[in-house]
Subunit: 293 residues, 2 copies
C-alpha cells in the first residue's frame, strides 16, 4: 500500500479531522495505520465523541472549536453530516492558510460542491465520497480497514488544482480505496438512484405499515423476510437522511419519478390480471442480484 511513497515521509504533516463519526474516525485510524500523517487533530460538536476519539487514540489532539482545530493543518477533512458541511466550511475558512488542502466525505456533491468551493481557498478543496458504511456509527465503530477495497469517488471541478487532486487521490489509495473521478452532477444522479431512493422507499414502506396500525390493523407481528430486509435501511438516522434528501433534491425527485413508473408497470399488470407482463417484471428484477453478486 505504501509503494511509491518515500519511507518516513508522510503525505501530510498535520491533518485535522472535523467530525469524528464512523467515516472521520476510520479515516483517522487508517491514516495513522498507513503512516500517512504526522499529527492528527480532531473536532466534533459532541464533547463525548471528542473524548472517546482521544481515548481510542484516533487523534493526538482534540478541540471543541473547528476553526482552531483546522488552523495550521495542511489537510482538513470535513467528515460532518451533509447538512452541516456548509456551516463547518464557513467556520474554518478564515483559519486556513493559502496552501491548506480541504476534502470532505459527503454523500451528496452537485450544487453542494459549488457552495463549499465558494467558501474555501481557491482550487484547494477536493470533493470526495467514500462508499463505505456499517450499521453502527460514532468513534467506537471506527476501523482502519473500513476503506479497504471500497470505492471512493472524487468529483473535482474545473477550479480544482490538479496537484491537490492527485494528493487526495493518493490519500484514498493509501488507505485501500479504489478511486475514480466523476462530475459532481453525475455523482448525484447515480447516488440518488442506488442510495437515496432506496432509503426514501424504505421509509415510505415502513410508514405504510404504521398507517395500517393507526387505522387499527397492526400487521407488524406478521412480518417475515420481505419486510424485515428493509427495516435496517429505514432505521437510518432521520436528520442525516433528511439533509441528504434535501441536498440532492432534483436528482432524488427524478429517481422517485423513475421508481413510480416502474411500480406503475407492476400495478397496471396486476390490475389487468396480465400474468405474462407481471412475470416479465418480476423476472427482469432478478438480474440485478445476478449482476451484483
Amino acid at each position: 500500500m505504501t509503494r511509491g511513497r518515500q519511507a518516513g515521509a508522510p503525505l501530510f504533516r498535520r491533518v485535522a479531522v472535523v467530525g469524528l463519526g464512523l467515516i472521520g474516525g476510520s479515516l483517522a485510524a487508517a491514516c495513522r495505520k498507513q503512516g500517512l500523517v504526522g499529527t492528527l487533530v480532531g473536532f466534533d460538536a459532541d464533547p463525548a465523541a471528542l473524548r472517546e476519539a482521544l481515548a481510542l487514540g484516533l487523534v493526538d489532539e482534540a478541540g471543541s472549536d473547528a476553526a482552531a482545530v483546522a488552523a495550521g493543518a495542511d489537510l482538513t477533512v470535513l467528515a460532518v453530516p451533509v447538512g452541516a458541511l456548509e456551516e463547518v466550511a464557513t467556520a474554518i475558512a478564515p483559519a486556513l492558510g493559502p496552501a491548506a488542502v480541504v476534502t470532505d466525505v459527503g454523500s451528496v456533491k452537485g450544487a453542494l460542491v459549488s457552495r463549499l468551493e465558494a467558501r474555501l481557498p481557491a482550487g484547494r478543496y477536493v470533493p470526495a465520497h467514500p462508499i463505505a458504511g456499517r450499521e453502527f456509527s460514532g468513534p467506537a465503530a471506527a476501523a482502519a480497514s473500513l476503506f479497504e477495497r471500497a470505492r471512493c469517488v472524487l468529483t473535482p471541478t474545473p477550479r480544482t488544482d490538479r496537484q491537490v487532486l492527485a494528493q487526495i487521490r493518493r490519500l484514498w489509495e493509501e488507505v485501500g480505496a479504489v478511486v475514480e473521478t466523476m462530475d459532481p452532477g453525475e455523482h448525484d444522479v447515480i447516488f440518488a438512484a442506488v442510495s437515496h431512493l432506496p432509503h426514501a422507499v424504505a421509509y415510505a414502506l415502513m410508514n405504510a405499515m404504521l398507517d395500517l396500525k393507526a387505522e387499527g390493523r397492526d400487521v407488524l407481528p406478521y412480518s417475515a423476510g420481505g419486510l424485515r430486509d428493509f427495516t435496517r435501511v429505514a432505521a437510518s438516522d432521520p436528520t442525516m437522511w433528511r439533509d441528504i434528501f434535501l441536498a440532492n433534491r432534483p436528482a432524488l425527485l427524478d429517481a422517485l419519478r423513475g421508481f413510480r413508473a416502474a411500480l406503475a408497470r407492476v400495478e397496471t399488470a396486476l390490475t389487468a390480471g396480465d400474468g405474462a407482463a407481471l412475470w416479465a417484471e418480476c423476472d427482469r428484477a432478478r438480474r440485478v442480484r445476478r449482476e451484483l453478486l
Copy 2:
C-alpha cells in the same frame, strides 16, 4: 413437544405431502422427527425433487401421480406453489376418502380458500400458512427445525369441521409452531402489507435501476447497503410471486395504494423543501425496527 399425545400413537397413519419443496420437505422431516406419522408418501411434479426427497429420507414412498399419492392418506398436505393449488386440489379430490383431511401451506388465503374448499371433501380442508422461509428452496433445503417458534396462521371457514381444525392445529404445534386462527380475508390484507407489497416494491426498485441502465446510465456498480438490502427479496422466484400477486390481487392493490400515499408524503415534503415534514416521515419509520427487535 409431545405432551398430551399418547406414546406410540401418531396423529396420522399415512400422510401424503404433495409438493416436496422447502416447506413440504421440512414438514415431512418435522413430522418424522416428532413421530407424528406412520408412513410418509410424497409427490412432486419434478422427478429430480422426488428422487432427492426419497434419497434424503424425507418420505418413505414417492409417486409421480398426485391423486395416487393422496389415495389412502388420512392427511394430504398441499405444499405446491400458490399458482398450482387449485389444479392439484382438483386432481386429488376424486382419490380422497370421506374421512381424509387436507391442509395446505399457501401464503394466500381469501378467495383461494373458497375455491379449494369447493373442490375438496366438505369440511375436511383446513387452510394453513406457516410463516417460515429461507433463501434456498427444494428438498435439500428442508429442515425439521424450520417451524420451531414460527407463526402458523390457520384460516378456517364456517364450513371447516372443528375436530379436523383441532387436529391440524395439533400438527403444527407438535412441529414447534405458534398457531393462531384468523379470517381468510383478514389474512390476505395482513400478508399483502407485510410480504406481498415489499416484494412488489423490491421488484419495481430493481427495475427502476435497470431502466436507468437501459437509458445508458449503469448505476449498479455504485450500489451499497441501501440497494443491496432489496436485492435478495427481488431475486425471489418470479413464477411463484406472479401467482401470489394475482391470487391476492384486491388486497395487494389496496396495499400498493397505501404505499403510494406514504411515498407521496415523502415526495411532497421533498418538493416543498419542508425539512420538518421530511424529518418526521424519516423518524416515524424507525419505529418499525424498534418494534420488531
